[in-house]
C-alpha cells in the first residue's frame, strides 16, 4: 500500500423548472363577547347635593372603588356598580363575558420557477496497487456519485428557495384576505354570543342588583356621614359626637343659627 490518490469529478446541470404553486393561509382571531343588562338611578333628584359633592373624596378612599373616565366602579359578582360623577347616576350592571373566535382561510395559485446552472464536485480515493479494492475506476464512480448527490441537493435547495420566495411574495395578500374573513367570522360569532349573553345578564340583573345595591348603599352612607360632618363644621357646631352601635352610626351636635 502506498499513499492514496484522489480523483476529483466536477459535474454541472442546467436547472430550469416552472410550476404552479398554491399559497394558503389560515388565520384564527380570538375575541371577547360581552352581554350587559343595567339599571340606572338618578341620584341628583333625591340625594342632597352636599352628599353628592363628597362622592369623589369618599370613593377615592374607599376600598374596592376604581376611578374611571365616567366615575367610580366597584366590581361585584356577575357585574359591577358605577357612580357616574358627571350625571350623579348610580348604575348597576350585570355583565356576562365569553371568549369567542373567528377563523378565516384564503388561498391563491402563483407561478414559481427556477432557472440556474448548477455545479458540484465529488472526490474519490484509490491506491496505485488497488489495495483493498480501491481502484481508480471505483474512485471515479464514487466521485461522480458524490457530485450527482451534491447536484441533487443543490437543485432541491434551489427549488425549495423558489417555493419560499413565491409563497412569501403572495403570502401577505393571502394572509390579509384570510384575516378579513376571520374578522368577519369573529364579528358574527361575537354578535351571536352577545345576544345570548345579554339575555343571561338580564336574568341575573336582579341578583346582581342586590349585591350592587349593598355596595352602593355603603358608599352612600359614607358620603352622607362626610356631608353631615362637613355641614357641622361649616356651622361651627359644638359638641360633635359620633358613635356606632349595632351597625347604626349616630352623629350629634349643637349649633347656633
Amino acid at each position: 500500500m502506498c499513499n492514496p490518490r484522489r480523483v476529483q469529478v466536477r459535474a454541472a446541470r442546467r436547472l430550469a423548472e416552472a410550476w404552479d404553486q398554491e399559497v394558503r393561509r389560515q388565520v384564527t382571531l380570538h375575541g371577547q363577547a360581552v352581554g350587559r343588562a343595567s339599571v340606572r338611578e338618578n341620584l341628583a333628584g333625591t340625594v342632597g347635593r352636599p352628599v353628592l359633592a363628597c362622592m369623589d373624596r369618599v370613593l377615592d378612599e374607599l376600598d374596592g372603588w376604581q376611578a374611571t373616565d365616567d366615575g367610580y366602579r366597584h366590581d361585584v359578582d356577575g357585574g359591577y356598580v358605577m357612580f357616574r360623577t358627571d350625571t350623579y347616576e348610580l348604575e348597576i350592571v350585570a355583565e356576562q363575558t365569553s371568549q369567542v373566535r373567528g377563523e378565516g382561510e384564503a388561498a391563491t395559485t402563483v407561478r414559481a420557477a427556477v432557472d440556474d446552472d448548477l455545479e458540484a464536485e465529488g472526490t474519490g480515493r484509490y491506491y496505485d496497487d488497488e489495495w483493498g479494492g480501491f481502484t481508480e475506476r471505483r474512485a471515479r464512480q464514487a466521485a461522480e456519485a458524490e457530485a450527482q448527490r451534491a447536484l441533487d441537493q443543490a437543485a432541491a435547495d434551489r427549488i425549495a428557495a423558489a417555493r419560499e420566495l413565491a409563497d412569501a411574495g403572495a403570502g401577505d395578500e393571502v394572509r390579509a384576505a384570510a384575516e378579513r374573513q376571520a374578522q368577519e367570522a369573529l364579528a358574527r360569532a361575537v354578535a351571536a354570543r352577545e345576544e345570548q349573553l345579554t339575555s343571561i345578564a338580564a336574568d341575573r340583573l336582579a341578583a346582581v342588583g342586590v349585591a350592587g345595591r349593598a355596595v352602593a348603599n355603603q358608599a352612600l352612607a359614607r358620603m352622607t356621614q362626610e356631608a353631615i360632618l362637613t355641614y357641622a363644621r361649616s356651622r361651627h357646631a359644638e359638641g360633635v359626637r359620633m358613635s356606632s352601635s349595632g351597625g347604626v352610626l349616630s352623629i350629634q351636635f349643637e349649633m347656633e343659627a
Binding site: 333625591t46 340625594v47 347635593r49 352612607a221 357646631a237 347604626v248 352610626l249 349649633m255 347656633e256 343659627a257
Partner: protein
C-alpha cells in the same frame, strides 16, 4: 336660636333612621320661633336629601317643637307617641 341635631343611619345600607333638629331652650321664645325652626330643619334636611318633607311634631311634655323630616311620598302623619323621633326613610 340654638339647635341640637341628631342623625342616625345604618352603616350597611345607608338607611337614615333618624334626622332630628330640636330647639334647645334658652328661655324666651322668639316671635319667629317656628319660622326659624322650619328654616334650619329644612337646611339640615337638604344636606342629605332634596325636597325632604318636614313634619313638626310636638312633644306634649316640652314647649319646643321638633322637626320631623320625611321623604316625599312618605306622608306627613305624625305619630302620637310621647317621645317622637324624626324618621327619614331612605332607599
Amino acid at each position: 336660636m340654638r339647635y341640637r341635631v341628631e342623625f342616625r343611619y345604618r352603616e350597611d345600607t345607608g338607611e337614615v333612621e333618624l334626622l332630628q333638629v330640636e330647639v334647645v331652650e334658652t328661655g324666651q321664645r322668639a316671635p319667629d320661633h317656628d319660622e326659624q325652626h322650619d328654616r334650619v330643619a329644612a337646611e339640615v334636611a337638604s344636606v342629605v336629601e332634596q325636597f325632604a318633607q318636614i313634619d313638626e311634631v310636638t312633644d306634649p311634655g316640652a314647649s319646643a317643637g321638633r322637626a320631623r323630616l320625611t321623604q316625599p311620598g312618605e306622608g306627613t302623619a305624625a305619630t302620637e307617641e310621647a317621645q317622637r323621633v324624626q324618621e327619614l326613610g331612605s332607599g
